[in-house]
Symmetry: C2
């Protein structure tokens, strides 16, 4: 049982955001495992075997990677963003927990990466500069009632909120439902940011109000940020405004 | 008005977590501005001027940096972790909003970094693998009542929680108060992680239960993670357990 498995965060896409630790872990691997679109960002060496798979087969992919590690391979499982944020790390540990006992003895590591919300926040200014939450809006793995209960809780407590997996062809209405819930807690001119493909050539950042935003403006590659009540714009004439959430919260009168 | 200001995330401390984008931005700077302890990690070039300051003077530091950028300098403001997460980015934009109008025309950028909770989570496994929140426990900038209200909300909604700024000499009791609040919402054997100085030579990761954790076990360099009700350990004999939060939430019976 000498194999290793490293779950590697590739960051948002631009190689300038890939950490040296992640680069070194990628170079050390004998086998590269992941979603096709993430593997396509890499330039595998001649001695490396690439094992691509479709999206939404995370547990199958995790088990394949663990089997190869148990066979003594040096396996890199690649993940967009940070592997610990709505990505492959949890799937790997789910597979370990339910798999053969000897998988627990494997050397399993996680290499962090720049997650989408933090790359997007950096582009906009500092919209997550106060307390914030990260939620997956997908109801594939948890009931929609859990999603709405959590949304209500963090809106009422005035967190800024980053929504991952906001919309897909199979989940077309949930994002508009989330915006409707937000409209019960935030003013119409509250800030909403749609950040698509940050760090990639087709990057797009839209700064909108809660009144005007629509689910159809987002897609699977978008991270949606709903500001706290204190999130504000700094207008800059014909340049894009800065968006930030102050660190301070005023004492209520 | 040709100066630039870049707020740069240094990550948790290990240079292997510093992104190439951050490295390039540091190299381009004429002036390096920051807390002494962060500047001490760098090896300034001969042409670079270093402007160190004490902790907790963020706005003064921000204004100095903006003044130099307005004078045409290429200013790097360094921040631990990610500058957008309880760090210098929000302070810069607070200073811009309240400062001279011409500061708004400056070229201000944020270079994201690996924030402490994600570095710590990677070391432990995937404790933030489900929905999670990041909160500053400091009541220097917001009333303690806001902190407790937010904690109650996210505990009741079963988020995993990362607490930044958990304790200091001036704020000695707040962390134990937060654990007491958590004990009203989570079982005694719930997972709490204390991650100190991750990515630095004196790194320490402690995996505890909510029943046994005490505020005095943490310090200013610690990030505290309180698991969701679903956060669990994978025991590994004499090795440290993996800690993870499953991506899925079961349908309540």
């Amino acid at each position: 049982m000498t194999g290793t498995l490293t779950v590697i965060g590739l960051g948002p896409g631009d190689p300038r955001y890939l950490t040296p630790a992640a680069t070194a872990a990628l170079a050390a691997a004998t086998d590269l495992v992941g979603y096709h679109a993430y593997l396509a960002r890499l330039a595998p060496a001649a001695h490396q075997t690439v094992h691509g798979s479709d999206n939404r087969v995370e547990l199958d992919r995790a088990r394949l990677a663990l089997e190869m590690a148990a066979d003594g391979r040096t396996v890199a499982v690649v993940s967009g963003g940070d592997p610990g944020v709505f990505a492959m790390a949890a799937a790997i540990f789910e597979a370990v927990e339910t798999g053969p006992a000897d998988w627990r003895a494997l050397d399993i590591r996680v290499e962090p990466g720049i997650t989408a919300m933090l790359a997007a926040a950096a582009r906009a200014g500092a919209p997550l500069g106060g307390d914030f939450c990260a939620m997956s809006l997908s109801d594939n793995l948890k009931p929609w009632e859990v999603v709405t209960r959590r949304l209500e809780a963090v809106l009422a407590a005035d967190f800024a909120i980053a929504l991952y997996n906001p919309i897909s062809k199979a989940r077309p209405w949930q994002l508009d439902a989330a915006f409707d819930i937000a409209r019960n807690h935030r003013a119409p001119d509250s800030v909403v940011i749609l950040a698509r493909a940050v760090g990639r050539p087709d990057e797009q950042l839209r700064i909108l109000t809660l009144a005007e935003v629509r689910g159809e403006m987002a897609d699977m590659a978008t991270v949606v940020m709903i500001g706290a009540s204190t999130t504000r714009l700094i207008e800059r004439g014909d340049k894009a405004p800065f968006v930030y959430t102050p660190r301070f919260v005023e004492v209520p009168a």
